[in-house]
Point group: C2
Chain length 279, copies 2
């Protein structure tokens, strides 16, 4: 059995940072898309996969949700919330005044627009396929800088000219730890399910949610994805507190499964507690 951890590559990406955070000494394997990553967990090509599922500015990562709905044997075994921090990176010895061109993925350039206008108004912007590729290229190019992760700087042998250059300080991504099975109870757990309800009848979604609220189960998230049938037909994905082995959760799951047309239990796993919340 493999012990490898899959992530959305290339090396130096935020996905790799999450995988390193989860498994600092693990063997890590990059995948080209979230769909390929989820399939690798399903097929046992990796033991675990770290997949981004939502960002505090951008919202849900639809590709991950859709891939999870498709891959019936993949469970959620954990979660991880990490800050997204962009850095300005160049060859060692480069200073800010030297920079003529800034390279990165277009969305990373967008996230740093105010910084770039303030600090490098003369620099030309150049698009790259990923932040990691941009940093690798910039470190090898005179008078160029790349925007990317601290890890990308390490891999490329670059120096960080400026840290946390993204315009919005509070930018976090939540990752799921995907595996063949979910996790044992810890006392502070979450459970994730997906379901569809009868179309066009008042109160059907609400009827499901009431099975949670009537048992004092706290809903932490609700997302909908198209059921790929017609406008107005959705698969709902919900997260709530508690473990599927807790009596009240087990009861609620049984009733919800009975009410739903389609029902899928992704599993129960320890709730991520951020460092600041631990103090």
């Amino acid at each position: 059995v493999t012990d490898e951890v899959g992530y959305l590559g290339p090396p130096g990406s935020f996905g790799e940072q999450a995988a390193l955070h989860f498994s600092p000494k693990g063997r890590l394997l990059p995948f080209p898309s979230h769909t390929a990553l989820v399939a690798a967990v399903r097929d046992g090509a990796v033991a675990r996969g770290l997949a981004a599922v939502e960002n505090s500015l951008e919202g849900a990562v639809s590709e991950t949700l859709d891939a999870l709905i498709q891959a019936e044997s993949v469970s959620i075994a954990g979660e991880l919330v990490l800050p997204v921090e962009q850095n300005l990176i160049a060859a060692p010895g480069t200073s800010l005044e030297d920079i003529d061109v800034v390279m990165s993925h277009p969305s990373a350039l967008g996230q740093c627009r105010a910084f770039l206008e303030r600090m490098l108004p003369q620099a030309r912007l150049e698009a790259a396929l990923s932040t990691a590729a941009a940093v690798m290229e910039a470190v090898g190019t005179p008078r160029a800088a790349g925007i990317g992760t601290r890890r990308a700087a390490e891999l490329a042998g670059g120096a960080i000219l400026a840290e946390r250059v993204q315009d919005e300080a509070l930018n976090k991504t939540r990752f799921l730890v995907l595996a063949g099975e979910d996790a044992a109870p810890t006392g502070t757990d979450k459970t994730s399910i997906a379901f569809t309800v009868a179309h066009d009848r008042p109160g059907t979604l609400i009827g499901v949610l009431q099975e949670l609220s009537s048992r004092s189960i706290n809903l932490t998230r609700i997302e909908s994805r198209p059921a790929r049938q017609d406008i107005g037909i959705y698969i709902f994905l919900i997260d709530f507190e508690g473990h599927r082995r807790d009596r009240s959760v087990a009861e609620a799951l049984e009733v919800v499964e009975g009410k739903a047309h389609y029902f899928r239990l992704f599993g129960s796993y320890p709730r991520f507690v951020e460092a600041a919340d631990k103090q």
Copy 2:
């Protein structure tokens, strides 16, 4: 006062098709993004704007939802559901065997992958910034075809070599008609609102939804967008049947506004009934 109708351009896009469907003789104005389109409605630069809000395969159009949440004076005055149909388009006189290269926006090429592999296995694929730009270029290039709308073929003076070449027959997009005010009651209406509820307390979202179900008001859609504060804090966007001037809806809105931290009424508007449903 302008009577122009704004849409997501360029001319020949699905946005223009929707705008033409809504206002066949109207003066239409393209915008480069949904954010710019919503801002143009807010500022009165156009009387109405047609903005894509969800697709039956891709799900919600986050940019439209976020722009609507930001633009406080913009209302929803209607909706429109249109099929997404891709066509293979080339210079008149071109036949399938002549085609060496197929140009389109990468997502349109992706939507037609099975067709292209079956019918044009030898053709090279070339990315363009929009389907409309691809069709315009392809019609002017020997041995090239573009994938795009019927309207793009008209604008470019091209011939349609094959219709409905997308792999999934059922692909529809719902558009909102945005305006300075919402619409009068017709008897078959919908109402859209956005709100946030107290964080981390069981039953708060459910409490809001119960105000609808207890009045037999049918929820037709629920979406969440990040409140841009932290992971786990959301703005909910819901659509339900009925007009804000209906007594039960007016009552529910009053109670929900009282329960919500943030509350926004986008307005009430006639529910779109598809041609097939009318028979």
